[in-house]
Amino acid sequence: MTTATSKRLPSPWGRLRARAHDHRSLTILAGWAIVASVLPVIVMIPPLSTFQPESLWIDGFANAGVFILLAMGLNVVVGLAGLLDLGYAAFFAIGSYAYAFGASPFTNLQIPFWPMLLVGAVVAATLGILLGAPTLRLRGDYLAIVTLGFGEIVPAVFLNASAFTLGTNGIGGIYKPEVFGFQFTLENPVPYYVAMVAILAITMVFLYRLQGSRLGRAWMAIREDELAAASSGINTITTKLLAFALGASTAGLAGVFATSKLTFVGPGQFGFQVSFTVLAMVVLGGMGNIWGVATGAFVIYTIQAVLLKELNQFFAVLHVPILQSIDFVQYQYLLYGVALVAMMLLRPEGLFPSSRRRQELHATSEDVADVPPPTEALGA
């Protein structure tokens, strides 16, 4: 909502931003088009190119896209509506299994990819509502533990209801997407990459539109001061529920895509680690700032899945004396922990805080995950 200000900025940059603001959807699509075409070029430059061949980078980007999608979805819940969700992976799992049921030899169904995306989103949203409806009345931290519990329950159900999910064996041989007669293959990651970028771009357009809409304002209002929001006529429960459902459906999308790419789904893939990682992505990226969160997700995923695993090769290639001989593979988890702590200590507001968040940084009372204690309301 800074249209006016940015319009008033005289600099060309300001004018550009004003333009960008007036045609935001177009800008986002353009932005993604640029990113998507630049990334493949960047990774051909050393030292990146020494890590792994380009096709693997592309493949990695497609996987990173899954986490970007997750982070953008969680951002709606945590960043916009200020609800602390620690069980986000549950919805990821639900989306994944939805696709596994819809298109695998296990059920002898072969529903096409695009419809399944929708199905996955809807199913996940439904369960989001199922979880949210009774629990969204709770104060922030109670919600946190309930969601954490839900995040443990869902994989446990997929694990134990083996009659319907093949239990711990997981469902394999899941069909790869076939889009307009074009069959995706495991050998060629490019189609996944393109599809992922398309999904990301569209999702981001939607999320930005929501953020700027009446609903988005309501979310932020609830985050800022739930009581005042209610006293302004916002039905806080339904609004929160919408945020929850929306976040869930995004995770559902991610699940469908990931499963269609991996062609296998098992209950072990959706532990608390996933939820925590995504939360870390949101917080480190800068809560409430969609682009920031997306970047945060990309950075962390790359650190986790590429850099930490390739550190040895990296130092070996550069022939760094001592580091060369350390086996980083076994310390990567430790390094990840250190990275989390360090990044938080250095930039608690995240790498790319939204303008709002930055203002909020030093206000302890403005608590992203907490409803102002109603004692305020007792007043008198």
């Binding site: 711990t168 997981g170 495991l186 532990g271 593979v329 988890y333 990840y336």
Partner: protein
């Protein structure tokens, strides 16, 4: 460096190289060998750059280091010894270590990415791994498409190889399978344990506890089916996830049903060692036999005191275990070599990984005769390894593989813990072994 020196004594010219190949084999996974190595012995034209690699695809970090690291060491040892012998047809061997653990837990997504990486590394002739069946199900389609050999030292889940499920992973090249495994599938190990408990030990009722992992549930189910078929009575079947710390309530509940035996369907890293230790303390189960698969009878072929006895300690008496390989053929020098190299007893799957490496090396040796480039060598390795006509002499004994990649002549060796051994600490002693016919014969 020990091996490097030995190799040098064998072939003086190799001293320099075997030394440096020794370092690359043990340290810095994924490194390409330092240049110049190939000059030691003229390698065939197919051996581009004088070095080819064996990949490992195992969980190496976080909670699963205990599974992956010792297993990978088996491969490192094989490579080092082979290089000490001058490599394969003058072509040096190196290792490309991939870690499929994400946030410390094995992750099929990461596994798939690693398999793509290994496929993309033209120098990789074959892959040892994965450790978890779930990961295998995500990887086989990739390796099958690319024609890169995978040899799993640990997978036992029937579905990985056997139809109908197995076929869904081989859709790209249904005939050119790319996956073999050294361990006997659950469909053999579970029932054989059931037979042993029912016939040899004469126990007619049993309590089964599994660890909810693919392996544990697999052997648990097959054990249960066989034991019932024999007319035995399964008094209770529980599943306790590896996060369980307190098994006492489980065994207390089971003890009320007076089982004559207990089957620990799982591995010691996933809690079965703890289960044994705590189960013994429950009144009623102090002396009943506890039987477990090779995840519990975790002994190197030489027979070393595995983690189970270390954890269970005095509770290890009357404990029996099955191991999915032959005992008498086992190469007893392996354990010694491993211990000298890594300063510790081998893990439960180190020997199997070593065997996988031996198979890949042997196949490469065969293939190198006709290979023209790395691609044809890789294909040669795959073709030779999966060809059921070829039988490989390995640390696990002689192995050859059927049309689905399962061992044609699976062996099950039976062990029991003898508390008088190892200075009263107790140790596994060989009881007997049985050979089975090809699980996929008809």
């Amino acid at each position: 460096m020990k091996y490097g020196k030995l190799g040098a004594l064998g072939a003086g010219a190799l001293l320099v190289f075997s030394a440096c190949s020794g370092t690359t084999a043990t340290a810095a996974p994924g490194t390409s060998t330092a240049p110049g190595g190939s000059s030691a012995v003229a390698a065939g034209a197919w051996c581009v750059g004088g070095t080819v690699k064996i990949g490992t695809e195992l969980p190496m970090s976080g909670g699963e280091t205990a599974n992956g690291a010792p297993t990978a060491n088996g491969v490192k040892l094989a490579i080092k010894q082979q290089n000490a012998k001058g490599g394969v047809a003058g072509c040096k061997l190196d290792i490309n270590v991939q870690d499929d653990a994400l946030n410390g837990v094995h992750d099929p997504q990461t596994g798939a990415k690693n398999m793509q990486t290994l496929v993309a590394d033209a120098a990789v002739m074959g892959v040892v791994g994965p450790f978890n069946s779930g990961v295998a199900k995500a990887e086989i389609p990739i390796s099958n498409g690319a024609g890169l050999l995978m040899c799993s030292p640990a997978n036992t889940n029937n579905g990985v190889t056997q139809p109908p499920e197995g076929d869904t992973y081989r859709k790209t090249n249904p005939t050119k399978i790319s996956y073999i495994r050294t361990a006997s599938p659950d469909s053999i190990q579970g029932p054989s344990a059931a037979d042993y408990l029912y016939k040899d030990l004469g126990k007619t009722s049993v309590y089964i506890i599994d660890d909810t992992e693919t392996f544990g549930v697999g052997v648990g189910d097959t054990f249960q089916a066989e034991f019932k078929k024999l007319g035995g009575n399964v008094v209770k079947r529980d599943s306790a996830p590896k996060s369980t710390t307190d098994y006492t309530p489980l065994f207390t509940a089971a003890a009320a049903l007076n089982p004559q035996g207990v089957y620990l369907a799982g591995t010691t890293p996933t809690g079965m060692g703890l289960a044994l230790k705590q189960g013994r303390t429950v009144s009623g189960l102090e002396t009943v036999p506890f039987v477990g698969p090779d995840g519990v009878a975790d002994l190197g072929p030489g027979g070393t005191q595995g983690a189970t006895i270390t954890i269970a300690g005095a509770a290890s008496h009357d404990v029996y275990g099955t191991v999915g390989s032959a005992h008498d053929l086992a190469d007893n020098t392996f354990t010694a070599a491993y211990t000298t190299e890594f300063g510790g007893a081998p893990g439960a799957y180190s020997a199997a990984a070593y065997a996988c490496a031996q198979i890949i090396i042997a196949s490469l040796d065969k293939a190198s005769a006709t290979a023209t480039d790395l691609a044809s060598a890789r294909e040669g390795v795959r073709a030779n390894a999966v060809n059921s006509a070829n039988s490989f002499t390995t640390v696990l004994g002689s192995l050859n593989f059927d049309k689905y990649g399962d061992n044609v002549h699976p062996f099950i060796s039976f062990y029991k813990v003898d508390m008088t051994l190892a200075g009263g600490k107790g140790d596994w002693t060989f009881v007997k072994q049985e050979s089975f016919s090809d699980p996929n014969a008809q």
